[in-house]
Symmetry: C2
Subunit: 423 residues, 2 copies
């Protein structure tokens, strides 16, 4: 029998009524002839409650105990889902991470998969069980302690099972009905994509589309797992949602697939930094240690090229990060300056910026996308502050007040509201 992996996030299993609703979806796939591996998250809010308790209990952070506490939320959902399926006449049982076992590294709270042996679950399928309900987000370390994979780890668990069991597909049920060309709240012309390539999805996810956890897409790409994103709240069938797959499978001909954006960015510029080998490491090391997620980095030659105080070359260094990390970033820079490991004349923070990106695998073979983007923004009077590019995306920082205008303009410019032509 072919295997299907289905994953349900916290909002999809938030209460008993939703669990029952989701069980119907599982039952339908069993009727279609699949053996189903279901990956469940904790009921919405439960993980945060547990994390709150851990934080309030101790300032000492023992990730092993953190994991042991936090993983319990998924175990509850797994048991309840198995019971609900039994109630509907579907032979199901729950699996906790250590029972499968989901072998991971000992990097608690950020563990990585080592192996997922198929034997135990396959033995149950052979006995006639049709559904294995697996607690997501968790595993077991070589020392026999419970590990967790970090936030979004249930998506990753689903993809890892799909890879290990060579599943026909991995369906990620969530609270949106697919991947859109951009956020429909910004423009009513936003259109759901039927298919999108792994590479594009990676850029969209990491740019704030918030549909799929980045690591799960990476894993899917690596193992060729066909990933489908669809809504757990709608009626769904074989054609629902958005399929994330290899670009060969995609027949659409658009150069640009979507416009991603991230509203709450900040831009930090260190003015007149000594330009010597190792200076980048001296700046971004302390930022990483302080937990600042640096996104774009731009280095320019400063106007004050040589002077008496700084006999070497000097430069200006600009980076962006989420706005709520700006104090940490500033403090890390000030500490590094005080410690003498870096030197700068001035630190300028611009907390009123947003990022907008055009993403499309077609850029690889089409030129002029950047020029088209910049021209469209200029025509609307939107000033570009920082530019960063990769093979399949172009991102710019702009003033926050222009973000809706910029997204709408680019969505129109690249004609994303219209269905793609089949090639």
């Amino acid at each position: 029998m072919p295997t299907l992996v289905m994953k349900f996030g916290g909002t999809s299993v938030a209460n008993l009524e939703r669990i029952a609703n989701v069980a119907e979806k599982i039952s339908r796939e069993v009727e279609r002839g699949y053996n189903v591996i279901v990956i469940v998250s904790a009921m919405s809010g439960k993980t945060n409650e547990l994390i709150g308790w851990v934080n309030d209990t101790s300032d000492i952070y023992d990730a092993r105990e953190y994991d042991a506490v936090v993983a319990s939320g998924e175990n509850v959902t797994a048991g309840l889902m198995a019971l609900r399926l039994q109630e509907m006449g579907v032979s199901a049982r729950s699996w906790q991470g250590w029972q499968v076992p989901i072998n991971t590294t000992s990097a608690h709270s950020a563990a990585r998969f080592v192996s997922i042996p198929r034997d135990n679950i396959e033995a149950k399928f052979a006995e006639g069980f049709r559904v294995a309900v697996v607690a997501g987000f968790q595993g077991v370390s070589p020392e026999g302690r419970i590990t967790t994979l970090g936030r979004g780890g249930s998506d990753t668990t689903a993809v890892a099972f799909a890879a290990a069991f060579e599943a026909e597909r991995c369906d990620i049920y969530t609270d949106v009905d697919g991947v859109y060309t951009t956020d429909p709240r910004i423009t009513a012309k936003a259109r759901k994509l039927d298919k999108i390539s792994y590479e594009e999805m990676l850029e969209l996810a990491s740019l704030g589309a918030k549909v799929l956890q980045t690591r799960s897409v990476e894993l899917a790409m690596r193992y060729g797992v066909r990933l489908r994103v669809l809504s757990s709240f709608d009626e769904t069938d074989e054609t629902s949602g958005t399929m994330v797959c290899d670009e060969e499978e995609i027949m659409e001909s658009k150069v640009v697939s979507g416009i991603a954006f991230s509203r709450d960015e900040a831009k930090v510029t260190l003015v007149t930094v000594e330009d010597r080998p190792g200076i980048a490491a001296a700046i971004f090391g302390p930022l990483a240690d302080a937990g600042v997620n640096v996104d774009m980095i731009v280095q320019n030659i400063s106007e004050k090229d040589y002077d008496e105080v700084h006999p070497g070359a000097v430069t200006d260094m600009t980076f962006s990060c989420p706005i709520d990390q700006i104090n940490r970033a500033r403090k890390a820079m000030e500490n590094a300056k005080a410690a003498g490991s870096i030197n700068y004349e001035n630190l300028i923070v611009d907390a009123d910026v947003s990022k907008v990106s055009v993403v499309g695998i077609g850029m690889r073979s089409h030129t002029g996308v950047a020029a088209k983007m910049f021209r469209a923004l200029a025509a609307e009077g939107v000033n570009i502050k920082v530019i960063s590019t990769s093979e399949i995306k172009i991102s710019v920082l702009i003033d926050r007040k222009y973000i809706e205008l910029a997204v709408q303009t680019l969505h129109d410019e690249f004609d994303l509201g219209a269905p793609a032509d089949d090639v």
Copy 2:
């Protein structure tokens, strides 16, 4: 280093403040030089929440899934307690049932211990850990699935660990400060006992004193575990609470140790039952199947010894059960009659009775306790409806309206308010 087992029930770990308070008590025992094994229950209310979810999810009762869900409450407490102890500088880690492992039978929701190997926990003690925080109430089956021991199973877990690790003592922290001669709410003369024998404790616990789970006392008696009951809310020291121990260790000279009672009993009489071999089984089998906890059983020869309709001997059969099981009991009897497996003329229910018992290991060597009890009740005009006796207790059913009077009268009659003379 000597080992101490400490057990904390749900109300003792009901919130983070109480967990912190309890951690102080553990820390003090570590300072006294013990390696401590701590058994924790789920935070008060959590287990009921989980059970409610299971019941609302499915009418089909799969005890394996029930156990997997319900055991998660204790895992949360264990992790939080370990974190709190670490915060205080005490080296502690949590243990879930399968990690120890606590090997049990496969009788889910009512599993029994098979073995508790010391190796894993002792290896950690040898590394310098001073506290093992074990999730109570759970274990792992030979099939590798999570089991639970049923209600009160955390007490039993504590005693089993004390036996396995040859602990110096097993301290059961609860919301009362010890075992009393009777309920202090009934008479202000009730006095806390410093020591009580296993046998007496068994009778008191099963009669409704509600301090210790019966099976845990049986287990303690069997393995000679010294069990102490004390309050998690008071300041406690080495002499606090009540010690449950071998009778040889008890120097008190009272014949009667306590007056137990159970307010909400009901009495059922089957009038004119055919008296033939197997009739008791035909009556009490269906009651057991219906989940009725039959307590006292009395069989009298009926007045209508022989008649034409029932050519055999006939009898009346009376039993008592908790009042909230009376409908189940009635239905089970009516069904059995309808099915023809038993026959009776009339079923009489008396739902207005209570049970009062005098308990004392001294009864073994002292005669006249029953006569003294019956005389004292008669002097107050309390009519006795049913009598049942064991080696160390005498129980009677009386009208519910007399229960306070009866307890006070017997407490005075056996002079329980005064401290015991040391022999």
